[in-house]
């Protein structure tokens, strides 16, 4: 199940929170390894809106405004690549294992 921010009640009690900064039109770090049930939080530190959008369609944040954050609980094992829909040269990946 995919959940948006504020839905941490469904996460595993020992689940971790991982941070990805969106800065200088890059995802930092660009690649991340997490455990099932962990949450990834993207924070937009740029001056323009971005999205975090899974290539598979697994998640799509919609527009994340400058200064805003967006969270996703990662449940499905495997490697998921993602990009910013607005700026398609911005790429990242999440490995759930």
């Amino acid at each position: 199940m995919l959940l948006l921010s504020g839905c941490s009640a469904t996460a595993h009690p020992h689940a971790a929170l991982h941070q990805v900064r969106i800065a200088q039109f890059k995802f930092v770090p660009p690649a991340l390894q997490v455990a099932p049930g962990d949450t990834v939080e993207w924070s937009n530190q740029d001056i323009l809106p971005h999205t975090t959008t899974a290539t598979s369609g697994h998640w799509d944040s919609g527009s994340v405004a400058p200064g805003a954050t967006w969270r996703q609980v990662m449940t499905q094992r495997g490697v998921e690549s993602y990009a910013c829909r607005f700026h398609p040269t911005m790429l990242g990946s999440i490995e759930v294992r």
Binding site: F25, D46, I47, T89
Partner: protein
Amino acid sequence: MSPIRRVTTLFATLFLVAAVSSCAKKTETTENTSATPAGPDTSTSATPAPATTMTDGNIAAIVVAANDVDVKAGELAKSTSKNSKVKAFAEQMITDHTSVNKQASDLAKRVNLTPEDNEASKQLKSNGDAMRDTLKTRKGAEFDKAYIDNEVAYHEAVLSMIDNTLIPGAQNADLKSLLQNVRPAFAAHLEHAKQVQQSLATK
């Protein structure tokens, strides 16, 4: 070289940088703030003039003009192109450059900075008009190629101007910070434009 290629190259690499060069030189003669001896005439070269000759008002006006030019080009492409990648790129240029201009305008008000129209900003506008007039004579794939080729050259030229003239020349810390924060957007736009350019070339 085709006519449209000549226009895009002329617009993006000659007019843009030469305009800034020219503006800076004129200021240099009146303010004499640079210790660098006068060199050969570089008004048609890609070498930007010394940054210290630009005022913050000059820089603010150039930023606004540069963004306006790309917004207007994007609006033309959005209404003309039938290619989904070109249209998506154009729409993003409209969105991003409009936002940057709003931030520049808000900043100018906040720090009481009045954009000072100058030769560079005026040339940016007039040559942007000329570029769009030329694009309006193109249709279909020819239009798409001309628009995207220009976007690649334009963003390369603006990046050069940001790095060599605008950021080094900005005196106000907030203006300098805005330029530094805007730079990655132009770099991302350039890569996006190259991506679309490549997709057009392989069709």
